[in-house]
Amino acid sequence: MASTLVDQEHASYRDEGFCAALELAVAAARELGPPPGPGDAGLDDRIQREAILRLRSGATVNPALLPLLADGRFADPGEHEPGTDEVSRALAVPDLFCLEAPPGTARTLTVLEIVRSAAGRGERVLLAAPTAPQVDAVLARLPDGATVIRVDQPGSGPGSLAAAAAGVQQRILARSQAAARSLEPWLGAPSPALGWLRRLTTALDEADEARGRADRAAAHREATAAAARERLGADLREHARASEAAETSVAAADAVVEELSAALRRSESALHRRWRAGRLRRRLSDAVRFAAAARSRSFQARAAYEESAHSLERGVEQDATVRAAVDRAAFADLAARRALESAERAAHHLTRLLDGVADVPDWTADQAGLADLAGRCRELEPVLRGRAGLLREWRHRTARPTAQLHAELLRYADVVAASCVGAGRPEYGDLEFDLLILEDASRVPLPAALVPMVRARRAVLVGQTGRPALRDPEVVRAWVAARCPAGADAEELSALLTGSVFERVSARAPARNRAVTR
């Protein structure tokens, strides 16, 4: 006969037995009469069973929750040094912290400080209690803009989902108004901003064409003036030739004077040639006179040439074809400047429209600088049009009262307050939290406490030790004796029915996971 050996001390077997005992405890609690409270008992049972299922399958936000609850296996805190006060110690543990709060101590203040600190560092907090917890004091201590939602709060009262949604909607509309106004000119088909961009582009194209026309007109003006000079310059050319001939004559005369001077110096230094000196002096004297006369003629020819040149310039300037070409070039240059000025005005408008919605690029008021600006604006325009359209849709969407925001507000709220079982209602979906604070944990049986605990990465249980049992131990003992199925852990079942989550966990928690409020 085949046999199967089961190691009942194996962790997985113990965990499985613990989960079975939890399910039995839910069923037994139903038969023994649930603790009085509002709500649908059938739904509450389903919610608790769903939490046990998550615990059993390891689908808890804290993956080590099952061994912690079943066997008291707490996580190693690592090398992180917690502070000395209860708040920093409670926030430092990686899994679960028991905060014992005897009557007369600063329980509420400590809880509020834990909530405030956790929310302040961006953590999502689930504040749970046997019945819907009061959150007014929490609200008063949270930073501005933090969202607190009471999921058990019906209607649109303070802290309700509807009120939170309305508050968020109002804040969105108020805060996004300025951006919407700044982006408005970029919206539409065509938008005003696109209109100015087109003006800039058109003006730049026109400026480019006008500059081309101006350059061509300037070239034509130069050619026309050259032709006029050619046509009117016969006299000048004659004077130029005369002047050139006069200068040649001067040069020749100067050469003769130089030559005779040298010959005279040689003749005077040689004794046997002195007889020639007298003749040479006479010839030199004639040459000097001739050179002076030639220089005088040259000066006159130069003066006549310059006078003729002035006369030619005046003639060219007054020539009708030249004057027409000059006028055309001037007008073309003016048109090019005006086109560039038009582009510059469009650029100033675009710069104003960009201010506050995008980084305004630096630009210079020349063709190249304005072309760079237009290129940058062409890149930005579809992006800003998209932003403007999206923001308008967003604001329209936000302005409508909607229940569609509720699920997301719960998913993203800083603090959610709920009764233990209320935290697991189906409409709240798969909410997850960084920190659970379970108030009055000494009044909460473990199956009910599981509902918020499976949804949180860490938990702080607040309660008192030494509280009366949740149910009459004699009644529970009798029920267990009569109804506990064979193979079930009767002792565990009794403990689950009579003890609170706080008593169970605090009794097993190491010193670093426990504190007493002062």
């Binding site: 803009g145 804040r171 805060r175 992006v383 932003r387 925001l405 993203y412």
Partner: protein, 241 residues
Amino acid sequence: MSEAAHLPMREVVRRVGALPGVRPLRFVPLLLPMWAVEVVATVRQAHSYDVFDRYLSRALAEAGLSGVGELARFFGVEPVLVERTARFLERIGHVRRAPDGLTLTELGRRSIADGRRYRLSHGRRLTLRFDGGAGEPVPWAHATHAVWLAEPTLTLPDGTVFTPLTAGAQLPPDAVDRLLARDDVVEFTGPSVPVEVEVAGPRAVWLPVYLVECADDPLVFGWAVDGPDPYLLKVYRGCAG
């Protein structure tokens, strides 16, 4: 007699009788040879967007925004709301964090383009079905609203015996890849669209139909469509050669 239920012959006779201008000559119960391919797939399922996640994704896709701070300023919300929405989108594979901010993944871009928030689920077991002729995928409506037989035998309680058509060619080895590459893949796989699959070998399955030989073109009746089924007629012609 097998247990599988199917349209009785008299129902098909009634339906054919109601068709104007159709002159049936013979009703032939047939088993069309088909292929079933079991796969373990990563599937893409479509969900509705909420509000913040849709607009945040659109801002990344359409508005050139990427930083948490600038997104919060743009939408007029707290940065922590953007951060938490981004974390949610990151967890479902729509967003990744880059040094210069948030960027959409391919899944996120596709979701925004289709207006549906896709989520990937791994390890899903699916059965993909192909016809026994050309090896083309079976439309989703036919795949789900049909009786699929593992053996080529079917006899109805009224004594109707279905005759199997001889299986044609083997299923092309790239049939699954070609299916996944189709733009209209959702028409064949239903709302859970496989994007990556581990394929086991195909197995032959059989689809009971009635071939109605008429004076004109034949008609084929199955379970997915009330009247003559043009798709099944095409499959029949493919199988019959």
